[in-house]
């Protein structure tokens, strides 16, 4: 069973592969610098919501919460706890 971090990384890797990027992003790497476009990051967020069956609060949708795998993992954990 994959943990949340691994599942988010797998989604990010899938999106990066579409851009021709084959490397796995580090937890604290900036996702834009890793090769994702802004629509990719929105796509990542939507896919993460579907994967974990959660709805991330609108107020939590901030640049700081979306710029790394670690930040998104933290957002997912908080949302799951609040559910």
């Amino acid at each position: 069973m994959f943990n949340a971090k691994d599942r988010i990384i797998a989604i990010a890797c899938h999106l990066l592969a579409k851009r021709g990027v084959r490397t796995t992003p580090q937890l604290d790497a900036n996702l834009r610098q890793a090769g994702l476009t802004p629509p990719d990051i929105v796509n990542l967020l939507l896919t993460v919501e579907a994967e974990f069956d959660i709805a991330i609060a609108q107020s939590a949708t901030t640049p700081d919460n979306l710029n790394t795998i670690a930040a998104i993992e933290s957002l997912v954990s908080m949302t799951l706890k609040a559910a």
């Binding site: 802004p38 629509p39 990051i41 967020l45 939507l46 609108q58 949708t61 979306l66």
Partner: protein, 337 residues
């Protein structure tokens, strides 16, 4: 009505994800941005249709593609046709970015859609795109059997900058028919959030200049690339709303969005057409933003809007409607009647 909650969330997510806003420098940046966005909000090739095929057309100094969509089911051999021009500020957009919309319009309207891959600025500034559109219109009108369309029921459609092209082609066809009985005839025009006055002086342009998906600086840059310096912005081929007369233009279906910077000009155009006796239908879609009709993954109302449009066109083209009761309920209404 406030901004639709799905539209608001989409705008906030895009902003948080770091979408570039305002003026861009390289046109490739603008094109990639729209293509990436289209992949997100409505991935091309995912809506089933009866058939898709491409057709090459020789135009001045080159070739352009026409993409022909046939509706699901067992349609008649000759159907009403709709020549479609995608948006993207005359500098961006493609057959791919509007593929989902064309597929849905095809199924919902029952028309055979013919999407035109007209050439874009800055390599092909005004009036190339318009000339490509005119060539496509003439070609389709004169070769209806190749396209499987009834030339008496051929319409033009477009969104955003494509809406400008569609509206201007209607004027060109009307004027050409005065001297040439063989000129193409257009049965209807479908304009989705069209740009109809590039001066951009309306209240909506001012009040929605930033933060509603399409910023005024982006539009300004589009125009810089599209319009040569010797062409006046008030030229009716750029700003058809600035024309002095509108008589004899085809029946119009005009759909605007409440939070679209172009909403005022779309509604003003509807009123101008109506004032000259042109039949006008359409809606001002409450709570919606520009390009919403192409975003079903983010804004579910997009699907409903295309269904509404489909029934309007079916009604006008005398095509069967699946649910007569529902058809009566959403019978076309005059925009801002």
């Amino acid at each position: 009505m406030p901004l639709d909650r799905h539209a608001r969330r989409f705008l906030e997510m895009l902003a948080a994800a770091g979408t570039a806003r305002g003026r861009y420098e390289a046109v490739e940046e603008r094109r990639e941005s729209l293509a990436d966005l289209a992949d997100l909000v409505d991935p091309p090739g995912t809506v089933p249709v009866g058939g898709v095929r491409d057709h090459l057309l020789a135009v001045h100094d080159g070739l352009i593609s026409l993409r022909i969509y046939s509706p699901l089911g067992k349609p008649a051999r000759l159907l009403p046709g709709m020549l479609f021009f995608h948006g993207g500020g005359w500098v961006a957009g493609s057959l791919e970015t509007h593929d989902g919309l064309c597929r849905r319009l095809c199924n919902e309207t029952g028309c055979r859609m013919i999407a035109v891959d007209y050439r874009l600025a800055p390599l092909h500034p005004f009036p190339y795109g318009l000339a490509d559109g005119w060539a496509a219109l003439n070609h389709v009108f004169r070769n209806p059997r190749i396209f499987g369309i009834d030339p008496a029921r051929l319409g033009v459609a477009g969104d955003g900058a494509g809406g400008t092209l569609a509206a201007v082609l209607c004027r060109m066809a009307r004027d050409a028919a005065k001297d040439n009985p063989d000129a193409p005839r257009i049965a209807f025009q479908l304009l989705l959030c069209p740009i109809l006055d590039v001066h951009g002086e309306s209240a909506a342009r001012r009040e929605l200049a930033e933060g509603y998906f399409l910023d005024s600086e982006t539009l300004r840059r589009d125009l810089e690339l599209y319009v040569p310096p010797d062409i006046e912005l008030s030229d009716v081929r750029l700003s058809p709303l600035r024309a002095e007369e509108f008589a004899g233009l085809p029946t119009a279906f005009i759909h605007t969005a409440q939070f679209d910077p172009f909403s005022d000009e779309g509604e003003a155009y509807a009123q101008r057409l109506g004032g000259f006796g042109v039949e006008v239908h359409g809606r001002a879609h409450a709570g919606m933003i520009h390009y919403f009709y192409c975003m079903p993954r983010m804004i579910p109302y997009a699907l409903q809007a295309v269904q509404i449009i489909g029934k309007e066109i079916r009604y006008a083209m005398d095509l069967p409607v699946k649910d007569r009761r529902d058809h009566r309920r959403i019978r076309p209404e005059l925009i801002r009647a």
